[in-house]
Each structure stands twice: as C-alpha cells, then as structure tokens.
C-alpha cells in the first residue's frame, strides 16, 4: 500500500461500500455503457484497489472521468456511502497524476482562474452572446449549417438559450434594516451569463411575495466546476470569499436558482476541517442556503394565469441527491392552475449535462441524453420544466436533436411560476 495515496484518496470511505449493487439501476452511466467500471460500486472498488497499489492510478481514469457526478447512487445507497467524497478524491489524484498539455492547462487557467471568477469578463461573455443572438448571427449560423463539421457545437449552438443582458449589481440598501423576510440572492456565473432573465424573474417573484431580495456585489462563483475538475485550492478560495461576502448581511436565507451551485454551497463545510473557524463559518452560511423552489414552496404564490399544458419535470440531480430537495418543485408545479403534471419515467436519472460533461464527453453525454429522450417521447409533454441551467440547455438540446422543438418547450421552474403569476422582468 502506498501511504500517500491512502491519504489522498478517500480510502476509508470505500469500506462503507458492501458492493451490494443497489446503485446499479440508479446509475445513468452504468445503464448507458453497461459495464461495471462505469457503476458506482465499480468506481469505489477502483479507488480502493488503486489506494492499495493493486492497480495503477491511471486504471481509475476512464471510470472516474466518465462519472457524471450526479450522485443518484447516494440517494439509493443502503449503507450511506459518501460517494461524492470518494469521487472527488479520485478526481484530484488523477488531476495531479496527469501531465497536462499546454492547451489544457491554458483552458483550465482561463476558465477557472479568470473567467468564472470575474464579473467583468462574465458580463462581456453575456454581452457577446446577446450580440451574437440579436444581430442574427446565431440564426445565420444555424440556417447555413456553418457548424456542420463540428456536430457537437452545432447542436449546442441550437440549444443555447435566448440571452438577456445581465444587470449590474446594485449596491444594496442598509443591510441591517429588517422588515420582511430578508433574502440574499446568489446569482451564479453560468446562470448569470445565459439565464440572467431567470434570475431577474426569481428576484421579482420573491419580492412580490413578502420577501426582500438583495443581490450583493461581493459574491463570486460557487466553485462547483473547479471542484469537479479537482481544483481543490481554488474551490476553497471561492468558498471563503462567498462565506465572507454574505456574513456582512443579516439574511434569513441565501437563495439561488441553480441546482448544481446550490449543492456546492450546501457542501461548503466539507471543504474545511471540522473544529476550525472556517468550518464553523461555513456551517452558518450553509444553514441559510435554499433553492428557489424551497422558498417558492413556502410562499403563498399568487397565481393569475392558467398554463394549460401537459408538463413533465426534469429535476436537477444535485438538487435532489445532494440538496435533498425532492418534493418542493413538484408541490409548486402541481399548484399551477391549468397545468397538467405528468410523471416522466425515470425522471431522477441524470440528463447527461452534468456541469461541463456534455462538452468534455460529448458522445457519452448524448448516449445518456438519448435514454432520457426515449422517456420524454413516451410521455409526450408540451413543456419540460427544469431547475438548473445545465439541465435546461441539455433538455433543449435533446428536444432539438429529436426534431421536437416545435412541439415541446423547455422552461425553468421560475419562468413557469412567473408566467402563471403574471410577473415580468424588470
């Protein structure tokens, strides 16, 4: 056994797994790729074997790389294995073990260290996308099939949402004034670039239902993508920034519209050692974090309009399996007047978006999406409701690929509620 590897990999946690296989039917990659190394118990075993020096570190790579990280296995696990922790430990070890090419290094630095953390640059991306779409370039690209040689970018391009200009963060009013329920807004970086409209609607919904929402300027990226890529130190740095940023205010809740980011925010305490000051601060921060559906379910939503559509819900994996929010979105959806909620078969299975999985592993991601779309086609909805930007784009992509974009629309739960409440963007 190599002591160092046992330290770095979450070797101890692998012993919680009794290899019973209850995770197999819940694992999208096992179902799609049909091999044991693409199952949770298979990956846990690979980690244990690597830690014990029985296989090479590189033997873990394919299994670990192709994990979506949806953590559906944790929800069904009868022995409460901390799969996410084992996975992250393996991702980090593999990252350190890899001689990265200059290009990959460059992309990583650009994406994680510069773009995602920098509000100005994100706003620039947002503006470029906006220009790309309003100037009709997107339409031309689509119509002329300019991206044909690169199928994945062609499809992703089609699936890209209509971008709205994101708003500059206003300086908040007196932070200690307390009247209604005080809600700090967490806008997220990808969300703010692609879906600033949804964030805007979310703020207006909460403001319209007895809450006072503040979008504070010192917030930064949640660190989810960095974390999933094994960039531990960067994740910790971002976590500290966010924790400190929100400590300056007396919020009852910190809300976000992104299943994945919310999960990362709720797992901040795991980044720090128990008993340390930062661990305490993280616990306090996390105790306030809520998904938008949790707050909307608390509110007595004032519905004004019917939405007479057959709808299915595609939950965000991290909203369910990490945040453990299962019922709230459904409670809301079922209350929307006129809307006919239909249960999507195997809805808890990941759609294959999984952060940037669909960019890194396009082919595999499409195999997983195809399983999802098979069930969508059986359900024949007119509306797919989502709760995370990644799933949103992926489901849109699925609809495009099946040639159903005239029949099925994809909307975030916030958009649907806003529409039913007659709430518009500001």
């Amino acid at each position: 056994m190599t002591e160092q590897l046992i330290e770095k990999l979450d070797y101890q946690a692998t012993f919680d797994c009794v290899q019973c296989g209850y995770c197999l039917p819940a694992c999208p990659t096992y179902l799609a790729f049909k091999k044991e190394k693409h199952s949770p118990r298979g990956r846990i075993n690979l980690v244990q074997m690597a830690a014990e020096g029985k296989i090479d570190i590189e033997d873990m790579r394919e299994g670990i790389d192709l994990c979506l990280g949806c953590r559906a296995c944790e929800t069904v696990c009868p022995t409460n294995v901390r799969y996410g922790d084992i996975l992250m430990s393996a991702v980090e070890v593999l990252k350190d073990n890899k001689k990265m090419g200059l290009f990959e290094k460059g992309v990583r630095t650009a994406a994680f260290k510069v773009v995602l953390k920098n509000k100005q640059i994100l706003r620039l991306v947002n503006r470029s996308l906006y220009a790309y779409q309003v100037t009709g370039v997107k339409r031309v690209v689509n119509r002329r099939n300019l991206l044909k040689p690169m199928e994945k970018y062609r499809d992703l391009n089609k699936a890209m949402p209509e971008v709205q200009l994101s708003k500059r963060l206003k300086n908040p009013p007196n932070p200690f004034r307390k009247s209604a329920i005080q809600v700090g807004f967490f806008q997220g970086c990808i969300m703010d670039v692609f879906f600033s409209r949804i964030n805007d609607l979310a703020v207006n919904i909460l403001n319209g239902h007895g809450m006072e929402v503040t979008n504070i300027p010192s917030q930064t990226c949640c660190g989810a993508l960095q974390h999933h890529a094994g960039e531990h130190n960067q994740t910790v740095e971002l976590a500290k920034k966010n924790i400190a940023a929100y400590e300056g205010y007396d919020f009852d809740y910190i809300v976000n519209t992104i299943g994945g980011c919310g999960a990362t925010l709720k797992e901040y305490p795991k980044l720090f050692q128990e008993g340390t000051e930062w661990h305490e601060r993280a616990l306090k921060f996390t105790a306030k974090v809520r998904d938008i559906s949790e707050l909307m379910a608390m509110a007595d939503l004032d519905f004004q309009y019917e939405i007479p559509k057959n709808a299915v819900f595609q939950p965000s994996c991290h909203l369910e399996n990490v945040q453990q929010v299962f019922e709230d979105p459904l409670k809301i959806i079922k209350r929307i007047p006129g809307l006919n909620y239909m249960e999507l078969k195997d809805k808890a299975l990941c759609c294959g978006s999984a952060g940037i999985y669909n960019i890194l592993h396009f082919e595999e991601s499409m195999q997983i999406l195809d399983m999802k779309m098979k069930n969508v086609k059986t359900a024949r909805p007119e509306l797919i409701i989502t709760s995370n930007p990644g799933c949103h784009i992926q489901m849109q992509l699925g609809v495009e690929r099946e040639g159903l974009s005239n029949v099925i629309s994809v909307k975030h739960i916030v958009e649907v509620v806003a529409e039913a409440c007659g709430i518009q963007t500001t």
Partner: protein, 468 residues
C-alpha cells in the same frame, strides 16, 4: 496463448470481450468478500455464444465463472482461479409470459423485479422475493437458489422452476423439466442444477411457475419482553392454523439502531419485535390475525399491534427496510450471515449469538426471516483491523458450527460459494462429500465450471474474509 484466446473470444462476442485491467478488476468482486482478477470478461447475449465459449474453455481448460449482477453474499461468482468471467447481466432481452399456462420464460440476465412486475400485470405472482430483486438477475437466483421474506409461506426459487435450458461442460445444450407442474420423466435435473452455483452447467433460460396474486395483505407488530418468548412465539404462530406470508424479527439492538436512525416510535426496551404479514382475501385477513392473537395469548404474549391502514402497514415494513442503513457505521464494513436453524431452536440461536457478541467483543445485530429459521446476524467490522477481522472470523465459525449442531444448515439462502466451503464437510459428512463430488466429477470432469466453489480445496479449513 493469451493472444489466441483473445482472438477466438473476439470472434464469438466481438466488443463484448473486456480485457483492460480496469474492466477485469471490476468483475472480480461480489457483495461478499475477496477480490480476484479474471483474465477475460465476456458479456454473453445468446445460448450459442455461451456454447461456443464453453467449448473453447473446455478445449483449453480455462475456468469459467458465470455471473449475474454480482449481488451474491457467498462468493458464488468470484473468479478465484482466474480465467473467464461470463457476465449475464446484459442478456435481459427475453421475457415472455404465458398467462393461461401460469408460466414465464426468461433469459438469465432478466432482473427478478422485472419478472415480479410482468406477473403482477396479469394478476399473477412470481413468489420468490430476495431483497435485492430490483438488481439481481434470475440466473443468479437460480444458481444460488435464492430465498426471501415470503419463503415462510411460498418457499424459495427452486419451488417455482419448471424447466431449464442448460449448457453442459462439454458445450452441449440440454433442456430439463418442461412446462408443467407435474413432470416425473427421468431424474429431476432441474432441482439438481438450481443451487448448484454454476458448477454443473450454465443456465441459459428458465421456465418459471406463477401463482395467483394474493388479493390483499395485513400486518401486525408483536412486541416481546424477552427473546425466549419471541422464539417460542414463532412456532406458536405457525401452528395456530394460519400461514403468515412474512415473519420478520428484529432484536433489541436492531430496534434501537432503527430508532436512532429514523425515529419511528419503536419500543426501545423491547427484547425483540416480530412483524407478521398475512395475505389473501381481505375479509379473511383480520380473522387470521385474531387467530394469531388468540394463540399468542395462550403463552402470555399480549402486545400485538395491528396496522389499521395501508399507510400504517407500509410504515411497519419501513422498519424492516431501514435495518440495513441504520446499522452501518461509517468506516465499518457490514458482514451478513445466514445460518439457518429449525424453528424450535431459534431461541437457542439468539442466545448463542448474544454469547458471541460478548465473547469476541463485536457489534452484532440480529434480524431476519424468523418464520423459516433464517436469521441474519450482521456484524459491523473495521476491515483494516486485522485483530478484529480474526475475532469476526472466529465468531462466525462458532455460529456455523452451532447451527449444524442444532440440526440447521450453514446457509439458508445465500449459498456456500467461497465463504462457507471450509464447513461444508462438517454438515454433509464424509460420505455425503464423496457423493456430491461424484456428481461434479461426472458432469464436469475437467473442473472448468466455476471451480473453487462449494467444495473446500486443500488447506481451506477456516473462514477467510480478506484475500491479498
């Protein structure tokens, strides 16, 4: 040589031959203990493929290990002598019901849960219900003769199989049994092959018997102040004239773990609780539970709580379901045993396990299928503590020996596999061993079908939980 085998296997299954290290190591475990490294993994999809691979293995004398979903708790599918793992989990395409004949035919990779669902659509039931039904394959169930909670009323896998298609060690295809309940033509090879753990032939199709689905169920929880009375109650209930469909017991340790975990208002001070389900015509169920209640009164057991609604009933069964997650502790590995004893000996077994707990200073909880004497003492162990692992091995050995002394058996439903083979001679005796080995020798003279299972090999005298 290896290249040649790879070439030939590729000819048979194409891309469904797996030879990378990460793949091979992933087919070297099951839900029991030990990790092995096969040379090849083949994901078979037809009888013809199985036949060709067996013929190849026979020619080159390469061991073959059939494997379903690898949920086995006894080591049945482990590739202990390297060779070929034959993975059946992806061959799940054939599943056909013949409702008028009360039969289902299935390929070996079909999940048991899918068989349950299909039968229920026709108001029928496939009775065996191992708790891993949503994952395990029918092929694995047949190989290990799996049981389940309903065993107390309905029996186990072998009671529901009418016929099999089997590939022999020579690579011939034979059919055993047929499509009828009554069939006495020749030896009962079907029953010989079920539970033979893939050591006599490889099952490639099964014809399963269905029965009418019971209309309804009702459940009672019985609370005991001492284990002895709990044990006595089991026989009392089963001789009361009512046949419960499930009888599950939890000892005090298990009750408290579930209570800590989920807070369901269970009686923490009770020595044990027994969950008793009856099934059948709705109108009769209440009467049946009253019969049980009356019988128990005769031995002074008064605390019988009958679930009034379906929700209450579901909540009671939730208790049993939660035992597994409730008893695990992070960093500790759960070891489940299934020695089985005659009903009247259940109190003795409980006492023995309690003694082991103290003697070896172990964390043991007991729960399981009380109605058929199939208890599941479960131990939480730190597998990195060599001393503790040895104590567990010693304790489990004593439990095995005691079960045999009581006239019971090493395994009620998990199988012998690798785990229990050192104790096999003790249960069947010298002559019994010779007889069983003669069958193996006759049907698989080259010992290529799942070698290293059931029969102890030279020097294997102890239970071993970890191989390195």
């Amino acid at each position: 040589m290896k290249e040649k085998i790879i070439e030939k296997l590729t000819e048979i299954v194409g891309e469904r031959l797996l030879i990378d290290v990460d793949d091979r190591v992933s087919y070297g475990y099951d839900a029991s203990f030990g990790q092995y490294m096969p040379d090849y993994v083949v994901q078979v999809m037809s009888t013809e493929e199985v036949q060709k691979i067996v013929q190849l293995a026979n020619a080159y004398e390469i061991p073959i290990y059939p494997r379903g979903a690898s949920t086995s708790l006894s080591g049945g599918p482990l590739p202990v002598h390297a060779g070929i793992v034959m993975d059946f989990s992806q061959w799940n395409q054939y599943l056909e019901i013949f409702p008028d004949d009360l039969l289902i035919k299935a390929s070996p990779g079909v999940k048991t849960g899918d068989i349950h669902q299909l039968a229920e659509k026709y108001n029928l039931m496939y009775a065996p219900d191992p708790s891993s039904s949503s994952i395990c394959t029918i092929g694995g169930n047949l190989a290990e003769n799996a049981g389940g909670p309903r065993g107390v009323k309905y029996g186990v896998t072998k009671d529901y199989v009418l016929g099999l298609e089997v590939v022999t060690a020579e690579g011939e295809v034979i059919r055993t049994g047929g499509n009828t309940v009554k069939n006495v033509t020749g030896y009962d090879l079907t029953k010989l092959l079920i539970g033979s753990e893939g050591t006599l032939g490889i099952i490639t199709e099964a014809t399963l018997r269905l029965i009418p689905k019971p209309m309804d169920t009702k459940t009672a929880m019985i609370i005991f102040e001492d284990l002895y009375t709990a044990g006595k109650s089991i026989s009392k209930i089963l001789t009361s004239g009512v046949r419960p469909s499930k009888m599950e017991i939890l000892d005090q340790n298990a009750i408290n773990k579930v209570e800590d975990y989920a807070g369901l208002d269970l009686p923490r001070t009770a020595a044990a609780i027994l969950l008793v389900e009856v099934d059948g015509d709705t109108d009769v169920l209440m009467k049946e539970l009253h019969v049980i209640q009356q019988a128990l009164l005769e031995i002074g057991v008064e605390n019988v709580q009958i679930a009034k609604t379906k929700e209450e009933e579901a909540r009671l069964w939730q208790v049993r379901k939660l035992v597994s997650p409730a008893i695990v502790q992070s960093g500790y590995t759960k070891i489940s045993e299934d020695a089985t004893v005659p009903l009247s000996k259940i109190p003795d077994m409980f006492r023995k396990i309690d003694e082991m707990k103290k003697k070896y200073n172990l964390n043991i909880v007991v729960f399981g299928h009380a109605g058929d004497g199939n208890l599941h003492p479960t131990i939480n162990t730190n597998m990195r503590d060599a001393d503790e692992v040895t104590r567990v091995e010693d304790a489990v050995e004593e439990i095995f020996h005691y079960a045999i002394e009581l006239g019971g058996t090493l395994s009620g439903e998990h199988g012998i596999g690798t785990m229990k083979k050192p104790f096999f001679p003790k249960e069947v005796g010298e002559a019994g061993m010779v007889f069983q080995k003669a069958i193996k020798q006759a049907l698989d003279p080259k010992n290529i079908l799942n070698p290293g299972k059931i029969f102890p090999e030279a020097g294997e005298k102890r239970l071993v939980l970890k191989n390195d």
